[in-house]
């Protein structure tokens, strides 16, 4: 127990990294009733950094990334995004949130709107774009995710993989600085996983700051700079993919990898 506790404090990112810190999380604690979901989380995310979060079910991965855009609110600790404290007024928080895109496990597209309308709603009503500008932008990103030809369809007319790509395009239409992904491929049929991962790889190549909860270890190896391993609401390991996969430090990470790579 003492051994894992000493590991609980993640080693700080190397001082040499010149990139700006865009997300700072300090001493974050959150409970659901008596259940302690997040324990003393400290984390810096730098601009353009690609971070994969993994860990067993219930370890608090979703809760952690949902705290970053205030879908969940932690009762203790600080989160700063681009130097704005998220605990400030809701107005400022909303502004910060609009710089953060999020993609959910179950897509959460608006079923009563066409693909195009899904993508133009927020840019028009939050950013004040005209319909024409918003549609242009939507088509640009729909094209990027390879789905422009479906712009007039309703979400229910698309496959899961296509829907998730629309969800990614919808988030990108807000031109976010940071993208959060909560298990973006785990609700998909196996044959559709690759098409979504391809989009994520392309997005990573553009230099987007990404935090992605996923158990796709191939993807983590290929794209991530850092892998965070969570267990019991703590960040147990914070390492490069090579270090994490080849030489996990904690018994819990070893056990987790043995299970997942099997």
């Amino acid at each position: 127990m003492t051994a894992s506790l000493s590991l609980a404090t993640p080693t700080p990112a190397p001082q040499a990294d010149p990139r700006k810190v865009v997300v700072t999380i300090e001493g974050l604690n959150k409970h659901y009733g008596a259940f302690h979901v997040l324990r003393d989380i400290n984390l810096n995310v730098r601009e353009g950094e690609r971070i994969v979060l993994c860990g067993p079910s219930g370890s608090g991965k979703s809760t952690l990334i949902r705290c970053i855009n205030r879908l969940e609110i932690a009762e203790q600790g600080n989160i700063r995004v681009n130097d704005t404290d998220l605990s400030l007024t809701t107005r400022q928080a909303a502004e910060v949130r609009s710089e953060i895109g999020m993609v959910f496990q179950h897509f959460n597209l608006f079923p009563h709107m066409s693909v195009l309308d899904n993508c133009t709603l927020a840019p028009m009503s939050v950013r004040g774009l005209s319909r024409k500008e918003a549609e242009e932008r939507a088509r640009f990103y729909l094209n990027k995710v390879g789905i422009e030809s479906q712009a007039g369809k309703y979400p229910s007319q698309l496959s899961g993989g296509q829907q998730q790509r629309v969800a990614i395009a919808r988030a990108l239409c807000m031109k976010p600085k940071i993208m959060l992904f909560d298990e973006p491929t785990s609700a998909l049929d196996p044959e559709m996983v690759a098409e979504v991962l391809d989009v994520l790889v392309k997005l990573a190549d553009t230099g987007m700051t990404m935090l992605c909860v996923t158990h796709e270890m191939g993807f983590a190896r290929q794209v991530a700079e850092r892998v965070l391993f969570l267990d019991g609401g703590q960040i147990i390991e914070d390492a490069s993919p090579e270090a994490f996969f080849n030489n996990p430090q904690s018994a819990r990470a070893k056990g987790f990898l043995a299970q997942i790579l099997h």
Partner: protein
């Protein structure tokens, strides 16, 4: 029995000539009464549903109490309470300048019907709002949509698809229940029916009324089906 005799039994031309125009008027009154109170009731019902779902304990309680009262007592009692009960406080209403409202059977009826249907519609809206997947609120939040945009563009259209069926039932129940208005001197469809019967003593008058109610209900039923199909076109 010849055809003419049979016709005279159910649709006597003389009778029709005498009372037909009145029936048209009655039909219009019923339509106006129901349309007006159903629409006002929808607005009030939506507010009640939102109050019921709000985080404010007092709003929740008030709305729950309202719904409990208006669903738990007969419409007839509510109408009499309003028209004869509140209407007897003449002095008070004159003081607050609302006597023109409470002495008028039409206003009282519209109010009673509105208050009553609002309670039922509140429950329908509440259920239909709860039926929208939580992920929809989350997606709207993640896109930092304003609360009003979230409600009108994302949540309401989806919840209406769920609500439209039960709302249609409520509308149909209300059309039939509106016959009660005739008890406070309103010449709605039932009002003119009673008048025509008291003069002619011919039972076919009630047959006409029944057929006309059936006709309105049928028209409403078909329109609703049409609207339902339109709202749900993305579900195919």
């Amino acid at each position: 029995m010849s055809f003419d005799q049979l016709l005279a039994l159910v649709l006597d031309p003389d009778l029709l000539e005498r009372y037909g125009p009145r029936f048209i008027d009655g039909l219009l009154v019923t339509g106006k009464l129901v349309a007006l109170s159903f629409t006002l009731g929808a607005l009030l019902g939506m507010l009640l549903a939102l109050a019921r779902l709000s985080n404010n304990l007092m709003l929740q309680r008030l709305s729950a109490g309202y719904i409990y009262f208006f669903r738990g007592s007969p419409l007839l009692a509510q109408l009499f309470l309003l028209y004869y009960g509140l209407g007897s406080l003449k002095g008070f209403w004159q003081d607050v300048g609302l006597w023109w409202f409470f002495r008028d059977a039409w206003y009282c009826t519209v109010l009673a019907f509105t208050l009553n249907t609002a309670a039922y519609q509140a429950e329908i809206f509440r259920g239909s709002l709860l039926a929208v997947a939580p992920g929809q609120y989350e997606a709207a939040k993640a896109l930092s949509l304003k609360r009003s945009t979230t409600f009108f563009k994302v949540i309401l259209p989806q919840s209406l698809i769920v609500a439209i069926g039960p709302l249609g039932n409520e509308l149909i129940l209300m059309i039939k229940a509106s016959a009660i208005a005739s008890l406070v001197t309103i010449y709605d469809l039932m009002g003119v029916t009673k008048l025509a019967f008291s003069r002619s003593f011919d039972f076919q008058i009630y047959l006409w009324a029944a057929v006309l109610y059936l006709l309105i209900v049928e028209i409403v039923r078909r329109s609703l089906k049409h609207i339902e199909a339109r709202l749900g076109r993305h579900l195919r």
